[in-house]
């Protein structure tokens, strides 16, 4: 049988040289007269091992990584085509502890399946949820999602079933399903990995949502910074017409605006306008895209739905802790030794993720601060690393899990500089509709500059001014961009006051 060799096409793997590795493997195989089947899969999520080459053997897939093009002749010489041992060999991929300790649902097929093959998707268990949904009444699908306890994975953690129920109960000739794949938070890449590694899972989740609320048209809004994800989605859609039945999905590409990840700004953008935030109410579930009832969920929310239908709401709800049910694909990023995608049920501590999975800092220096939940998330000091990864536990310390992005910093970080960056980023990306965000962010940069330049006598006044400004932004902004920018700023000031001197 022709041996199958997997070389990821995921953007992170490409950035680390996967195309050159794939070309070298094809060349070397041809030179040696060995017939191979080369599959360009997604990433297994172990970014520190990328490019991770896998070889299918009777004992399962064997992992080699990180592989460079220069390693390829040596790998062939060592007989890696049949799983031969080599310094880069990690044994069976599924037994690598970093991966074996995870519990993957939404990301279960990423890196395993050929993302361009619908047949492969179905052969690996895809499509079961959609088939089941087709036998159910819409209200029963919504009930299953509600009972699963699934909450929105974009950051706001609103119960998905309640949102779907609102759309189901709002009569309209045309309703829409919109997937928010505008994954702009630094430290997050789970949406990208799923689009590139298992796009059919997303299409299935959206089609189920369409059946649940009575919609035949879906949109996936992807940021323009993700051209590889856009290509992967379009390739999947080109083969999925029959699979999706009456449901149609179109990919819409953003254009470099962070605030378009806010759901109403995203709707404006899909409608062909500037990405300016809308006032709520009306909720998008009542009057959303083109004024029609619209389900808007994050990509991981949709990708979690097939499992809820296939395995049942109870199986999903049984995972997790407190009111955070199921799993969340966390993303370990920044200054971290073993970075990548860690999907686990809620309930681990931040420390377990950072050290048991992450292995501490990449630089080898102590971890000093961790930003959880993107540019609008809090900076947490080591004394809070034992916080349980659970929506409520994070809310209780004035932080949030957001989209599950975790950015680690070592002890060379200057938190006053990070606070200034938070305000600067808000000033760059503010849509400009409300004053606290548009003007407040620029004033915030100025005040932090004055704090950093001030002598001891003046500093207290400026800090009070910053607190007052943050208070205005929190209470006066129209959306999370302005109202949450104070979170990284104030957490930096609270936990790392010495950096502001």
């Amino acid at each position: 049988m022709t041996p199958t060799i997997y070389v990821p096409r995921d953007a992170a793997a490409l950035a680390l040289g996967a195309d050159a590795v794939a070309a070298a493997i094809a060349d070397e195989a041809a030179r040696r007269g060995i017939a191979i089947k080369l599959v360009r899969n997604g990433t297994r999520g172990m970014v520190w091992l990328e490019p991770l080459v896998e070889v299918a053997t009777p004992q399962g897939r064997i992992a080699y990584g990180p592989v460079s093009a220069a390693d390829v002749p040596g790998l062939f010489a060592a007989g890696f085509v049949t799983g031969g041992s080599h310094a880069l060999c990690h044994g069976p991929t599924n037994e690598i502890p970093w991966l074996a300790r995870q519990q993957r649902l939404a990301c279960r097929r990423i890196g395993i399946v050929d993302p361009r093959s619908l047949a492969d998707y179905v052969a690996l268990g895809g499509g079961v949820g959609l088939r089941r949904a087709r036998t159910m009444a819409p209200a029963d699908i919504v009930r299953a999602v509600t009972e699963s306890g699934l909450r929105g994975r974009g950051g706001a953690a609103f119960p998905a079933g309640i949102k779907w129920q609102t759309v189901l109960a709002t009569p309209a000739a045309q309703k829409y399903i919109v997937c928010n794949a505008d994954e702009g938070d630094s430290g997050t890449f789970s949406d990208r990995m799923l689009m590139e590694g298992d796009p059919y899972q997303l299409l299935e989740g959206m089609a189920i949502a369409g059946l649940a609320v009575g919609s035949t048209q879906g949109y996936i809004y992807v940021r323009s910074e993700y051209p590889h994800a856009v290509a992967a989605l379009n390739a999947a859609l080109a083969t999925a017409e029959d699979y999706l039945g009456d449901f149609r999905i179109e990919v819409r590409v953003g254009a470099g605006s962070y605030v378009c990840g806010e759901e109403t700004a995203m709707l404006e953008s899909i409608e062909g306008k500037r990405g300016i935030v809308r006032a709520k109410p009306p909720l998008p579930a009542v009057a959303g895209l083109f004024g029609q009832p619209t389900v808007i969920n994050n990509l991981i929310t949709f990708a979690s739905v097939p499992d809820v239908l296939a395995q049942g709401a109870a199986a999903y709800r049984d995972l997790g802790c407190g009111r955070s049910r199921g799993t969340l694909p966390f993303q370990l990023a920044g200054n971290i030794k073993y970075g990548g995608l860690v999907e686990v049920p809620f309930g681990l501590t931040l420390r377990e993720l950072l050290y048991d999975f992450g292995g501490g800092s990449r630089s080898g220096r102590p971890l000093r601060a961790v930003q959880v939940g993107g540019p609008l998330g809090a900076y947490l000091p080591a004394s809070q690393f034992d916080t349980v990864l659970d929506y409520e536990a994070f809310a209780a310390i004035g932080a949030g899990l957001g989209h599950g992005g975790i950015v680690a910093f070592d002890d060379t970080v200057d938190l006053a500089k990070q606070a200034r960056y938070a305000m600067k980023f808000c000033a760059i990306e503010s849509c400009g509709k409300c004053t606290p965000c548009r003007i407040g962010s620029t004033r915030g940069v100025e005040v932090i500059d004055r704090i950093r330049a001030a002598n001891n006598g003046q500093r207290a006044d400026q800090i009070e001014l910053l607190q007052d400004l943050c208070d205005t932004m929190i209470h006066g902004s129209l959306c999370a961009m302005g109202s949450m920018t104070p979170i990284p700023v104030m957490s930096a000031l609270r936990h790392f006051p010495e950096d502001f001197k």
């Binding site: 992170a12 997050t188 062909g272 992005g405 910093f409 980023f425």
Partner: protein, 147 residues
């Protein structure tokens, strides 16, 4: 389906699409490298918008260019995850290295390569991770050699 090869045909192919403006602008920029000012009235007329509305959208989004870029476009990630591993020093190095060259240097706020930063994107399709100043110089030298 054949890809449209003129601005007029791009506009014609999209005029019945709901919310057509961004797809039209993307295709024009893909074809020409920027949005030529003389395409604005054509787009506005076809999509029943005012020229101000079209201009407003083009100027709102950082991705759209109103003038052709000089040479290659090199974008260095300036977001937090890359900051944590030396992204700012890399951006500073890039400014110095590319001063006076015909490469367009831009900041980008996250390429989704946050576990292997600092990251750099060249001409929107080629990605580089764990970029050190030395690695940056090598990739610029390769770009210049190919030019």
């Amino acid at each position: 389906m054949e890809k449209p090869t003129t601005i007029e045909s791009i506009i014609a192919a999209h005029r019945d699409l709901p919310g057509a403006l961004l797809p039209v602008l993307h295709e024009i920029q893909h074809l020409r490298g920027y949005i030529p000012p003389d395409s604005v009235p054509l787009i506005a007329k076809a999509l029943n918008l005012s020229r101000a509305e079209v201009h407003g959208v083009i100027s709102y989004y950082a991705h759209f260019r109103q003038t052709p870029p000089a040479g290659h476009v090199v974008r260095v990630c300036c977001a937090e995850a890359c900051q944590a591993v030396g992204g700012e020093a890399l951006a500073e190095h890039a400014r110095t290295r590319l001063a006076g060259s015909d490469v367009t240097l831009e900041p980008v706020y996250c390429l989704g390569l946050c576990a292997c930063g600092p990251s750099v994107q060249v001409d929107e399709t080629t990605l580089h991770a764990q970029v050190t100043p030395e690695k940056f110089d090598a990739l610029i030298a390769a770009l210049e050699a190919a030019a």
